[in-house]
Amino acid sequence: MPDIKEARQALVSRILEGKGTASQAQRRRAFDNAGLAAPVSTLINKVAGHAWNVTDEDIGAARASGLSEDQIFEMVVCAAIGQATRQYNTALAALAAATEKE
């Protein structure tokens, strides 16, 4: 079976701990969808919870708050991977719980 564990861990380490234009703290907050101030928090919260609702205005407001396009790129990537990671970990824990009792 495919083992994405190592590749996934490398991805998460790279986006959170490697070089970037957004600070590591900003990227971590985007990944966690926690601790950011508006309007960036609005954008990141949408990416995590309901990305189809993101608008031009959300991106525009993040730009107007002082973030560069590269910083927004990085933080949106972190938010998407953060949410997908939480889902993935929750599902693996559910699978472990289901197979333990068999």
């Binding site: 079976m1 495919p2 083992d3 994405i4 590749a7 996934r8 490398a10 991805l11 790279r14 986006i15 490697g18 970037g20 954008l43 949408k46 990416v47 995590a48 919870g49 990305a51 189809w52 993101v54 031009d56 991106i59 396009e69 590269d70 927004i72 790129f73 990085e74 949106v76 990537v77 938010a79 998407a80 991977i81 949410q83 997908a84 990671t85 939480r86 889902q87 993935y88 929750t90 599902a91 693996l92 559910a94 699978l95 719980a97 289901a98 197979t99 009792k101 068999e102």
Partner: protein, 193 residues
């Protein structure tokens, strides 16, 4: 695309590759490719390794099954771009559109094998509600999906719950069906590397 850097901020060498792709395929370079190739040391490179493993690595699921999972996850996330893109890849992989259309229009009535149906149901719940529990997993196992198959499906889910968010957030341009068909042929021939 909502960030200009993702359209025009690539290195000179990448722009030359895009021009070549455009000339050969006579289709616009897909926005997913532009994102993967933008500062690829940050996201595109490491993400492609995950996606290649999930979508093309050894698995009891066929390539078509995994592309179908991707399309259904995208549909659940209301991501039209990814749904169309990966429906096209699933159709190419299966060699026909009937099963893909049936699953995307109504999973419950689609005539597919139970292990796949139960696994798709679990993935849909995970994508929609951001969570599943042990009972959801027991249902998939009881339908005949193995533990390894469920883990493989969750890898697909991780990749497409990431990518559909990026497609929506960055506002991918939705091209016509021919561009997705050309992309599908490429992904079948070459994978996600």
């Amino acid at each position: 695309m909502r960030l200009a850097i993702l359209d025009t901020g690539h290195s000179f060498g990448t722009k030359a590759v895009f021009a070549f792709i455009g000339a050969v395929s006579r289709q616009p370079v897909l926005d997913a490719v532009k994102v993967i190739k933008y500062r690829s040391d940050f996201y595109g490179g490491p993400m492609s390794r995950v996606t290649q493993e999930a979508m093309r690595g050894p698995s009891a699921w066929s390539v078509g099954d995994r592309e179908l999972m991707a399309a259904l996850i995208a549909k659940t996330n209301a991501c039209e771009w990814c749904m169309k893109a990966h429906s096209a890849v699933a159709v190419e992989a299966y060699g026909g559109a009937a099963m893909v259309s049936a699953v995307l229009s109504d999973l419950e009535t689609a005539a597919i094998e139970e292990p796949l149906k139960a696994t798709l149901r679990m993935l849909r719940k995970l994508s929609r509600e951001h969570s599943v529990d042990a009972d959801d997993m027991r249902a998939a196992l009881a339908a005949g999906a193995s533990r390894a198959q469920i883990e493989d499906a969750l890898a697909v889910c991780f990749a497409f719950n990431t990518m559909s968010r990026l497609a929506d957030a960055f506002g991918f341009f939705l091209p016509g069906p021919r561009a997705f068909e050309a992309g599908a042929r490429y992904l079948i021939a070459r994978g996600y590397r």
